[in-house]
Symmetry: C2
Subunit: 289 residues, 2 copies
């Protein structure tokens, strides 16, 4: 068996970024925490923590932390009352910002764990799974990562939107490669290719877009309502503003549908089955088939 | 003078994470982009790009990119019509998520640039400035970073909130070190010490809190409304839910005020004066003195 007291110290250091913070959390002295980590590293013959600051986990350290999280989840699903002092189970998952801002969150009440959310683009969530840094993820790629199962959730529909004033100023002559190149867009971050993919499909041309980078869902939509640029917003966020006349769609009848999948590591699939069920139910209600 | 064509290639590579994406954006071949970077690196005797993937800027590379952004801003503030093909000015700034979710964004319309927003905790925004990765930042620390000026904006007031049901289940016997240790909290990320600082002040005790990590403002508040835990929300976000009876404050009359400052690199202070003015005006309207 592994030394779980040492694994707990390891996980706290990685979560909190320092030996001191982990020691305070565990009511230990920093030197006691340090000795546990040293002992673990000697037994395993591997460095587990980059000392920092901030202290971060090595690849092996992160795998061990994930193992601890999985053991805690399994313990919780067994409802053992034997270790009353065990820390609460933590479930680390990757979710795309727009799912989090729209349909995802009510499903989180289905499982009594502590969620550690990583927000990343649905096109890049598989990397977190592959690296063993999360136990489950919302992805846009149907291919399961090794050791995981993938379930189709449906499609998230995006609409290209802008204010009526922005539309009149930039697109009065229509949506062309020229007008799109001259009009500022809003993108979420450098990983966000949605605007480019939609614009190239709408015009059939290779484009150069330039835009603001606003890496949060509601501020992204707010920037569009402020007239800073045009961008792709989930239909459910855009419709109230369109109905109220604050936004218009750039090309009615040309939405962009992004498929979403829920990928879960098989090791914990049984333990988090109620969450998976709740996610599938929410998705069926809120996403397009 | 520096070779600005090469600097533009450098900035695009760092922004887009690959030589290929930068080449496409600049309508060049990847080998032309690669030659520009090599030439620049040889002239400067320094590596500017970690080749990746993804390609990232070295410290020197990031400084050069910031220089280009500053030159573009200065060019724009001069309103030169001489370089009609110059890329639009980019202003990279660090803003805390809660400011972005509440009072900050309307100020962005005051300056016709492309904003590249970095979202980070107000306690850590100075690091971005110090490393030269942003030109201005919202910070909680009044001490200006070298080369920057700091202006006091006022205080952001936070309220400790939970649903009435959560409050009745966990705090019927009052707010104590024991009840707080047993009740899940919501924290933004590992850098977020707000909940801990408030709880330790409220109880006068050293505490162990455990909680969900939800690194986005609106989802953070949504998690509290779903009953997943208690947490600190900006007053302006909390009040509508409190008035509607969906949330209660854990300790009425015990808010937590976080001072905010706008720190601007002196190199660009004049060029972005209209933004600074708009930020100060918004802050005066929305923050506490």
């Amino acid at each position: 068996m592994h030394d779980y007291a040492a694994l707990e110290a390891l996980a706290e250091i990685i979560r909190r970024g320092s030996f001191e913070a982990a020691a305070a959390q565990l009511s230990l002295t920093p030197s006691a925490v340090s000795q546990r980590i040293k002992g673990l590293e000697e037994r395993l013959g591997a460095v587990l923590i980059h000392r920092g600051p901030p202290a971060t986990g090595t690849e092996t350290g992160l795998r061990l932390m994930q193992h601890l999280d999985q053991v805690r989840l399994l313990e919780q699903s067994l409802e053992t009352a034997i270790r009353p002092k065990a820390g609460p189970a933590v479930l680390k998952i990757a979710v795309n910002a727009d799912s989090l801002a729209t349909w995802f969150m009510p499903a989180m009440t289905a499982l009594p764990v502590l969620f550690d959310l990583v927000i990343d683009d649905q096109d890049h969530a598989r990397d977190w799974l592959r690296q063993g840094q999360v136990s489950a993820a919302i992805t846009s790629n149907p291919n399961p990562v090794a050791g995981c199962d993938a379930r189709a959730l449906g499609h998230m529909r995006y609409l290209a939107t802008a204010t009526p004033e922005f539309h009149a100023r930039h697109f009065a002559q229509g949506l062309t490669a020229q007008s799109l190149a001259a009009a500022p867009t809003i993108i979420f971050n450098t990983k966000d290719a949605l605007q480019m993919r939609w614009a190239e499909r709408a015009t059939g041309a290779k484009l150069r877009l330039s835009g603001h980078r606003i890496p949060a869902s509601e501020p992204f939509a707010h920037a569009i309502e402020l007239g800073l640029g045009w961008g792709m917003i989930p239909e459910s966020m855009a419709l109230p503003a369109i109905t109220a006349g604050r936004l218009v769609t750039l090309a009615p009848g040309q939405p962009f549908d992004v498929p979403l999948y829920w990928q879960v590591s098989r090791d914990i699939a049984a333990a988090i089955a109620p969450l998976t069920q709740a996610i599938c139910k929410r998705a069926a209600e809120d996403l397009r088939p």
